[in-house]
């Protein structure tokens, strides 16, 4: 499992990084591995509001659906359209394949750093 140290992680297995004032959000290696082959993704639209701790979309594997939980409150300013036709990109490189970008961030959940997240994942197994 790979957990880049420059990113932050939520307990619901999303990663976050700040690009200036914009939050960039994706799912971690643990998440994509647990999901298996991702076959579909439901994304919000640009301009939609997201709320920290609340689902903003879902990702579907062959066998199951998983919520995507936002680590921040704010407004969606970009969605990764590549994922609409090729959701398997999340399996191929989950840190390259960001899911949404959020601006006007007012609230952020308590996030873990790479080491804390790795320990947390060990308890999830």
């Amino acid at each position: 499992m790979n957990y880049p140290t420059e990113l932050k992680y939520s307990k619901t297995h999303e990663w976050l990084t700040m690009d200036g004032d914009v939050a960039v959000i994706g799912i971690s290696d643990f998440a994509q591995d647990a999901l298996g082959d991702v076959v579909f993704i439901n994304l919000p639209e640009v301009g939609d509001d997201v709320f920290a701790g609340e689902p903003f979309g879902d990702v579907e594997s062959v066998k199951a659906v998983s919520d995507l939980v936002s680590p921040v409150t704010g407004t969606v300013c970009a969605i990764n359209e590549v994922l609409l036709d090729a959701p398997e990109a999340l399996n191929e490189d989950c840190y390259e394949a960001w899911i949404i970008k959020v601006e006007g961030v007012t609230q952020t959940e308590d996030l873990l750093d790479a080491t804390e997240y790795e320990e947390f994942c060990a308890t999830e197994e």
């Binding site: 298996g36 082959d37 076959v39 579909f40 879902d58 594997s61 062959v62």
Partner: protein, 882 residues
């Protein structure tokens, strides 16, 4: 907490990194590190292994095993032949399913019943209650024998390595075989749950199963888990108990007939007596038929059916989602997910499966029975209503070796309307017809065994005046059976037909010939119709009884299409009430030569079935038919059998170099007049009954079933041409027949020497007929035939006796007749063999060399070429405006 059960392969799955889950109480692999999508695709593309050892394997044996199984299963157990398997359902009294299952008959003294893993305990409880009343036993061998499903286009090749090349089973689905896999006993079945046309289930002793798994992986198979097993069977439209069968989401039992496969799994044969659920199932079956006729008056008996659906909006549909039509809830999705497939390009036989992977959102739903294909419905996907459509099926397996996804909305390319005037189109047509004629007659080497070119004399006569006339005639008793003609202007054609009948009688060496039938297929229908008519001649007050049993050559072994229940035999063959199938049995073939009838085994079949009609003759033919031996046997047995020989291909070979059917004991000979015989395209029926024979009445039936039974207009132009052809045949046959057989054997040897794989017995130079068959690789036949056509060599692609069907064809079928008529001898056929090897083995372009070779042989031999004849022909051509 109860510990999960483990199959014999549990440790193998763990060692191979599988993700393990609880499936019906078993610890099973849902996927391997490859993932479900890759495992699904590898199955469709190559070969996957599935551990199915968790399924229940039950042996039923004992004196009353058949009545017991007839009572507890929906299928007709007595219709299950040895070495075959059948899909069945274990019904409950209320007409719902306890489980679905597969019944295998490997031996005469026991049956193997395989049931779903999650239901094994429930099934045993149900069956054990009933078996108490029968003198038979049920033994659970699940722990002693394991099972692996080996599925995908390459599965046959892989398993053939283990048998050392010995055929696994007969080519059709549900066939069984018992083998020694490199020292391990293996029971093989051509069955599966993936929809793949090539796929097997293998049963081996528990101690051998890990060896089998690893050995197949060594050969290139890859493991696949329950996840891929589910996506594959969903794509194939196969039901999963607990989803498409059992109880609906409201907890109500689902009627058996709501599943499409019920039509095949349920029998109401008398042999089944009052089996479990019979009354309820009969009611469902009657309403099912009404619904198929769009009569919904009793739809409450069968309100919902399992239908395949495809999502039209973006999303994924899953089990238990509610389905709506016009806002009204009509049922639920029973199974659904995103399924991958390889994109295909091109059309028909030129379809190419690419490497591009696409995904589609599909499912099956338990929804209103009055829905039709293309109806639009809506599925509630987590609060949103997404549009979906009812489709016919998601996958078709009738073009082996691949299972082909059927994508909703796919359309074939439409022909573009040119918008030209009809005059221009007519001129264009003449030009194109001219090009085609020149190409085929001057540039091509024509090796299609069913084809020939008639002489100029025959062709021109076919186009002259009687061609557009009528000459209906019938024998009238009052005039001592003289033929009376219903039309005027028929004196010439009356005389022609009488002369034709005389020429044909001399050719056949027989008493009577009917020449009015206009094709080989029609000559067979006429014979079958006459047999049926004559059979019922003493009882005209009841619906005529059909013919049965009929002994023929199976189409896979080269038997005529015409003689199969789907061909000319269709409306004349009876259904055997015990097997509920056409009363047809096939000639057994020699184990070491699938092209040859096994006479000793045939005698056993004749003793058992006492066939009413025996039809000799094949379209893929390398050997003489054993007419004399079978005639002798039938006479010794004192059987009331009619022996018929459909000589379609070999009619022109009657004589010293092939066979003399009537001398050997055939009673009826039918045939095409245009293959090895010199005629235009027509048919003929010949018999050797004498007026004093009882069966002369059958001949009279043949006459009336020809006219007015089969024709009103019997195509007088080609009948006239046929008389000329009969003159040619009777004059030149000895030289022609000898040349054909010589050429066939010589060509076969030349092809072998050129490095090609020639089928047949080398000891007799591969063939006794006009045909030569060459094997080019499983599934390669159509491509190679197309490649040869681009090189001006015209042959048939052909499935050998071991191959599933024409799309899997691995061979080429060729005939010598046409090129022999144009003067080819062994030297030319040898040159041709070299050119063919260049094309087949080295993919060279030899089109110009072929055209050149053909160009030197455009003058027809074995026809009249005396000066007097040529003058008469020239005069005729001039006068009729050619």
């Amino acid at each position: 907490m109860e510990k999960l059960k483990r199959t014999q392969l549990y440790q193998v799955h763990v060692d191979e990194g599988a993700t393990m889950v609880d499936f019906g109480g078993w610890n099973m692999p849902v996927q391997y590190p490859t993932g479900i999508v890759a495992e699904h695709l590898y199955t469709r593309h190559f070969c996957s292994l599935f551990d199915v050892s968790h399924m229940g394997r039950l042996i039923i044996e004992g004196p009353e095993m058949v009545p017991f199984l007839q009572h507890v299963l929906t299928s007709n157990v007595e219709a299950l032949d040895l070495d075959k398997a059948q899909y069945c359902i274990i019904p409950d009294e209320d007409g719902s399913a306890v489980d679905d299952a597969y019944l295998y008959r490997y031996s005469e003294d026991r049956y193997l019943l395989v049931v779903n893993a999650s239901n094994t305990d429930k099934d045993l409880e149900h069956l054990n209650k009933i078996v108490k009343d029968y003198d038979c036993t049920i033994t659970n061998i699940t722990a002693d024998w394991g099972s692996i499903a080996v599925q995908g286009p390459k599965s046959k090749d892989l398993l053939l390595v283990l048998t050392g090349g010995e055929a696994l089973t007969e080519p059709m689905k549900n066939a069984l075989g018992v083998h020694d896999f490199e020292g391990h006993k293996a029971y093989v079945a051509k069955t599966g749950y993936t929809g793949e046309p090539i796929g097997y289930e293998v049963f081996v002793k528990s101690e051998d199963i890990a060896w089998l798994w690893y050995r197949l992986e060594e050969l290139g198979a890859r493991p696949a888990g329950l996840g891929a097993r589910d996506t594959l069977r969903l794509e194939a439209g196969m039901p999963l108990y607990g989803h498409e069968m059992g109880e609906d989401p409201d907890g109500n039992p689902m009627p058996v007939f709501s599943v499409p496969l019920a039509r095949f799994a349920v029998s109401f044969s008398d042999r089944k007596g009052d089996f479990v659920g019979r009354a309820a199932l009969e009611k469902q079956s009657a309403v099912f038929k009404e619904i198929m006729n769009r009569d919904y008056s009793h739809i409450d008996v069968l309100p919902r059916r399992i239908l395949p659906i495809a999502l039209l909006d973006r999303g994924v549909i899953r089990a238990h989602m509610e389905v709506f039509r016009n806002g009204e809830k009509i049922g639920w999705v029973t199974s659904g997910t995103m399924v991958p497939y390889y994109k295909a390009e091109g059309e028909g036989l030129e379809t190419v499966i690419t490497d591009e992977v696409v995904k589609r959102s599909i499912g099956m739903a338990y929804i209103s029975s009055d829905l039709l294909e293309d109806d639009i419905i809506e599925v509630d996907v987590r609060g949103r209503r997404l549009k979906a459509v009812v489709v016919e099926k998601h996958l078709d397996a009738l073009a082996p070796p691949f299972a082909r996804p059927l994508i909703y909305g796919h359309e074939l390319a439409k022909r573009e309307e040119s918008g030209e005037s009809r005059l221009n189109k007519a001129i264009n047509l003449l030009q194109r017809a001219e090009e085609n004629h020149i190409w085929r007659q001057q540039n091509c080497i024509n090796l299609i065994p069913s084809e020939n070119t008639p002489s100029k004399a025959v062709t021109m006569l076919c186009a002259s005046d009687p061609a557009f006339r009528y000459a209906e005639h019938k024998k009238v008793k009052s005039f001592y059976d003289k033929d009376i003609f219903y039309y005027q202007g028929t004196k010439f054609i009356d005389d022609v037909e009488q002369l034709l009948v005389e020429e044909m009688k001399q050719y056949f060496g027989c008493t009577e010939v009917e020449t009015r039938v206009i094709s080989g297929q029609m000559s067979n229908m006429c014979a079958f119709s006459a047999l049926m008519d004559w059979k019922n001649r003493l009882d005209r007050k009841n619906t005529p009884k059909r013919l049965g049993y009929v002994l023929n050559n199976h189409i896979i072994k080269g038997g005529h299409l015409s003689a199969q229940p789907m061909g000319a035999l269709h409306d004349y063959v009876a259904i055997d009430p015990v097997t509920e199938r056409a009363a047809v049995v096939n000639f057994p073939v020699c184990k070491d030569n699938l092209f040859k009838i096994d006479v000793e085994e045939t005698k056993k079949v004749i003793e058992e079935y006492k066939p009413e009609l025996i039809i000799f003759g094949k379209s893929m033919v390398l050997h003489k038919e054993p007419v004399a031996e079978i005639r002798k046997f039938v006479d010794e047995m004192g059987l009331n059998t009619t022996i018929m020989y459909d000589m379609a291909h070999v009619l022109g070979l009657i004589g010293d170099y092939f066979q003399k059917p009537f001398e050997e004991g055939a009673e009826i000979v039918t045939g095409s007049t245009h293959k090895t015989f010199f005629g235009p395209q027509r048919g003929v029926v010949a018999v050797n009954y004498k007026e004093e024979d009882l069966k002369y009445g059958l001949w009279k039936a043949i006459e009336t079933r020809a006219f007015p039974g089969s024709v009103s207009n019997h195509h007088l132009g080609t009948q006239l041409g046929l008389l000329m052809a009969a003159y040619e045949m009777n004059t030149f046959k000895d030289a022609y027949q000898k040349a054909i057989i010589t050429n066939a054997k010589s060509f076969a040897k030349s092809l072998k020497a050129a490095g090609l794989n020639v089928c047949g017995d080398p000891a007799i130079d591969y063939t006794e007929t006009h045909q030569v068959i060459v094997s080019v690789g499983y599934g390669e036949g159509a491509d190679i035939a197309a490649r040869l056509e681009r090189n001006n060599i015209i042959v048939n692609y052909q499935a050998t006796p071991e191959e599933e069907g024409f799309t899997a064809s691995g061979a080429l079928r060729m005939g010598m007749s046409e090129m022999t008529r144009f003067g080819f001898g062994p030297a030319e056929f040898d040159k041709l063999a070299q050119l063919m090897a260049d094309v087949i083995l080295r993919d060279k372009d030899v089109s110009q060399d072929v055209a050149k070779l053909r160009g030197e042989f455009t003058e027809m031999k074995y026809c009249f070429d005396d000066k007097a004849f040529d003058e008469a022909l020239g005069h005729f051509a001039g006068k009729i405006g050619f």
